[in-house]
Every structure is written in structure tokens, then in C-alpha cells.
């Protein structure tokens, strides 16, 4: 088998399901190289199973972590310490509310945590709002795609809380604004940058103004329920039904 030509090994591997491919990577270095070279193991298509989950509460306390009793060593490691190591590092865990999560990373207030490796990083101070957007509140999302890049990005999207829709802002402002300025932090550059988004739909799309938004009852949720990072694009559902990508 040592002399099995590389292209034949590739042909054989191409017939295998992901679980067998994962085992083949562990056979020897040449086989791992063959699996990786063929791009055969698409980690974005791998079967993920739930081994545990965090639950955040409205109480000022650290999020709880739940796991299955039989779960893997990784999950046990996470549960063993919850997020208390943050406190050891000087992070006030009373404000450790989970703002967002993506592919194993947690976004807390001004901080990103990988519970599996117990590593965390503090985000640099937020940049000031760009011109004409002073006074907006921001919702944070995290985007991380380990199969594409080892770097994560934190995105801050401006929004107006329902309580401030009256009075403080000009009811005639179109929403989402076009162009729409968002703030993006990349762990690669370690900097916050402004990104300009333009509206994709044409004139035919229904325009909505801040004034119109008063009709929506529920406050623009600051939880992460309405932001999804999928296939390298961040989808955010706005209160008025707009989808920001």
C-alpha cells in the first residue's frame, strides 16, 4: 500500500463519507495531506451535534453552560470552569451577557471568548459614530468562519431604540439609510473600520422612514436572534422587515 499512487489514493478517498475521511486524516501524514489536498472534508458541511449550550439570563450573572453528561472532553472542559476564567483575567463577569455567537465564539460586552480553548480577547474601544449618525445605538454581531479564515469580525449595526423614535430623531430619515454605515472590527487588522453598505433593491422597493417604524411594537431586539452568519455573509433582519447582508 505504500506504493499506492497518490492519485489512486485520492480516488479512493473521494468515495468516502466525512466520518471515514476524518479517520483517514489520522492514519499518517501522507493520508492527511491527500485528504486536505483534495478539499474533500468540507468543514462547513460537517455534521455538527449539540454537546452543550450557554444560557444567558436577564439577571446580572455569568451565562450558564449546559451540557450532556456523556459529552466530549471539550464540552466537559467548558463546563468545568464556565466563564470564570474571565474574572481571573480582570473581566467583570457580571456584565458577561452574550451579545452574539458564531461557530464556537461568544461575543460578550467588549470581549470575544472561545470557551473551548478558554482564550479571550478584549475589543479595542468602539470608534465614534460617523457624521450624521450621532446618537444612534449599536447592535453587535460576530462573524467567524474557521474554514475560510482564522480571523473573526465583529460588526456594529446602528439602530434607534423604540423609546427614542419620538423626538430625538428626524422622522423623515429613511431606514435603513442609504448608504448605511456600519462599524467592523477584524481580529486580523485589530482595528475598527467603517464600511459603507448600499441598498441593493431598486427604486421599486418600499421605502420606510424612521417615522414609519413607530408602528412596530417590539423594540429592535438587542439579542442575537435576528442575525445569522452563513456562508460568509451576515444576514440581519431589521425591525421593519429589511434584510441587511
Amino acid at each position: 500500500m505504500d506504493s499506492l499512487p497518490g492519485d489512486v489514493l485520492g480516488d479512493v478517498l473521494a468515495l468516502l463519507p466525512p466520518r471515514s475521511l476524518a479517520a483517514c486524516r489520522g492514519v499518517c501524514k501522507a493520508w492527511r495531506a491527500a485528504v486536505d489536498a483534495g478539499g474533500l472534508l468540507r468543514s462547513d458541511l460537517l455534521p455538527l451535534s449539540v454537546r452543550g449550550f450557554f444560557v444567558g439570563t436577564d439577571m446580572p450573572s455569568c451565562p450558564f453552560f449546559f451540557r450532556r453528561p456523556s459529552s466530549s472532553s471539550t464540552a466537559r472542559k467548558i463546563a468545568g470552569a464556565a466563564l470564570d476564567y474571565l474574572q481571573d483575567m480582570g473581566y467583570d463577569q457580571d456584565i458577561a451577557m452574550i451579545r452574539g455567537y458564531c461557530n464556537g465564539l461568544l461575543l460578550l460586552d467588549q470581549c470575544v471568548v472561545n470557551p473551548a480553548t478558554r482564550r479571550w480577547a478584549r475589543l479595542p474601544p468602539y470608534p465614534p459614530s460617523p457624521e450624521k449618525m450621532e446618537g444612534f445605538h449599536y447592535k453587535e454581531c460576530i462573524a467567524f468562519e474557521p474554514a475560510v479564515s482564522p480571523h473573526y469580525r465583529v460588526v456594529r449595526l446602528p439602530y434607534v431604540p423604540i423609546s427614542e423614535l419620538e423626538g430625538k430623531f428626524d422622522g423623515g430619515i429613511e431606514w435603513p439609510m442609504d448608504p448605511f454605515v456600519i462599524q467592523v472590527f477584524s481580529s486580523g487588522s485589530q482595528r475598527w473600520e467603517h464600511r459603507l453598505l448600499v441598498r441593493e433593491q431598486g427604486e421599486a422597493a418600499a421605502r420606510c422612514t424612521l417615522g414609519d417604524m413607530r408602528q412596530f411594537y417590539s423594540p429592535y431586539s438587542v439579542s442575537c436572534d435576528d442575525a445569522v452568519f452563513w456562508h460568509e455573509a451576515l444576514y440581519v433582519k431589521c425591525m421593519n422587515g429589511f434584510l441587511i447582508r
Binding site: D11, V12, L15, L16, S20, G26, V27, S49, S71
Partner: protein, 186 residues
């Protein structure tokens, strides 16, 4: 001048005679001779097809120094069996639907053909099929080998294929962590 011309004619006659034969003779690395249907050889092996078209087939046995007699016997056996087998409807239809040639499941007789082989014979046959550019035989043998890998742990695969583990303990643990889901049965 006359002599040269005569020799040329003789050569010509011999070539014509060879082209008329409906089998070709192949010689293994250890000197054994095998006869195989020319039509099947040309259809199943791109390398043999090229040799037949290019006239480099030797009547006294075309040398295939890379292939041992056991593997060559299996190759010839496969070609002859293939020549006799009626292709199933599935094979015909799938061969025209895609130009990327997706893998077609082995036929019943092909499955039996590779199932009876020892590991060593199977691996030698894969190499021979690869060398001779026999796409279908390569598919069938690769399919068999992949079946032998399915559901096995890295340790078991190493044992079956007689592969030396060149990882350190730390590297193995890292690989396990990377794809931890593959190593648990929940």
C-alpha cells in the same frame, strides 16, 4: 535496394496480419504471456488503445514491465469478462448523462471479481489499472478499497493497509480534537 524493398514489404505484411488478429499478447514483468481480446483491451485501457493504434504491440508479447503476472492475469481476466458481460441499462444511461463521469456502482460480477482477491492482489490490481489507464477497473477496485476503510478507526485502517503511523502522540491528539465529532458515537 531490391532487398530493402522486399524487407519493407515483409514488414508491411506482418503488420497487416497483426492488425487482423483479434487478440493481443501481453507480457508481465516476470515474462508470462497473456492473450486478451483486442477490442476489450482498446475499449477498457487508454494505454493499450494507444499502443494498438500506434502499432507498438509486439506479436511475441508486449512488454509490460511494471505489472507482475498475478496482476496482469487479473487485468486480462477482467477484460475478457467485461467483453462477455452485457452492460446493464444503468451503465449505459449514466455514461451519457454526465461528462464528469460520476462513479457508477460496480456490477454484481465486478463486485465478485474484486471480492475474491487478497489484499495484496487487490492493491497490485489497482496499480496495474492505474498504469494502464483502465478507468472502469480503477473505479471498481477503488470502490472495494474504500469499502475496506469505511467505519474503521485510524488504528484499524493502519492495520488493514499495513501503514506505519508517523504521527507523534501530540499530533494525533490534535487531529482528534480538530474533528472530535468523528470519534464519538452520539
Amino acid at each position: 535496394m531490391e532487398v530493402d524493398k522486399g524487407k519493407g514489404e515483409a514488414e508491411e505484411t506482418r503488420k497487416v496480419a497483426e492488425a487482423d488478429r483479434d487478440t493481443v499478447t501481453l507480457k508481465s514483468s516476470d515474462g508470462k504471456l497473456f492473450e486478451v481480446s483486442k477490442e476489450a483491451a482498446a475499449r477498457l485501457s487508454t494505454v493499450l488503445a494507444g499502443m494498438i493504434a500506434g502499432g507498438s504491440i509486439d506479436d511475441n508479447g508486449t512488454d509490460l514491465k511494471q505489472i507482475g503476472s498475478e496482476a496482469l492475469e487479473n487485468v486480462v481476466d477482467y477484460c475478457n469478462k467485461h467483453a462477455n458481460s452485457i452492460p446493464s441499462a444503468a451503465l449505459i444511461s449514466s455514461s451519457i448523462s454526465f461528462n464528469t463521469a460520476p462513479f457508477k456502482e460496480p456490477e454484481e460480477w465486478e463486485r465478485k471479481f474484486v471480492d475474491r482477491l487478497s489484499h495484496d492482489a487487490l492493491f497490485d490490481l489497482v496499480e496495474a489499472a492505474n498504469f494502464l489507464g483502465m478507468e472502469r477497473l480503477l473505479d471498481v477496485t477503488c470502490h472495494k478499497i474504500s469499502e475496506m476503510m469505511k467505519g474503521k478507526s485510524p488504528d484499524q485502517i493502519r492495520e488493514v493497509f499495513n501503514i506505519k503511523n508517523d504521527y507523534t502522540k501530540e499530533e494525533l491528539e490534535e487531529i482528534r480534537q480538530e474533528l472530535a465529532w468523528a470519534f464519538y458515537d452520539d
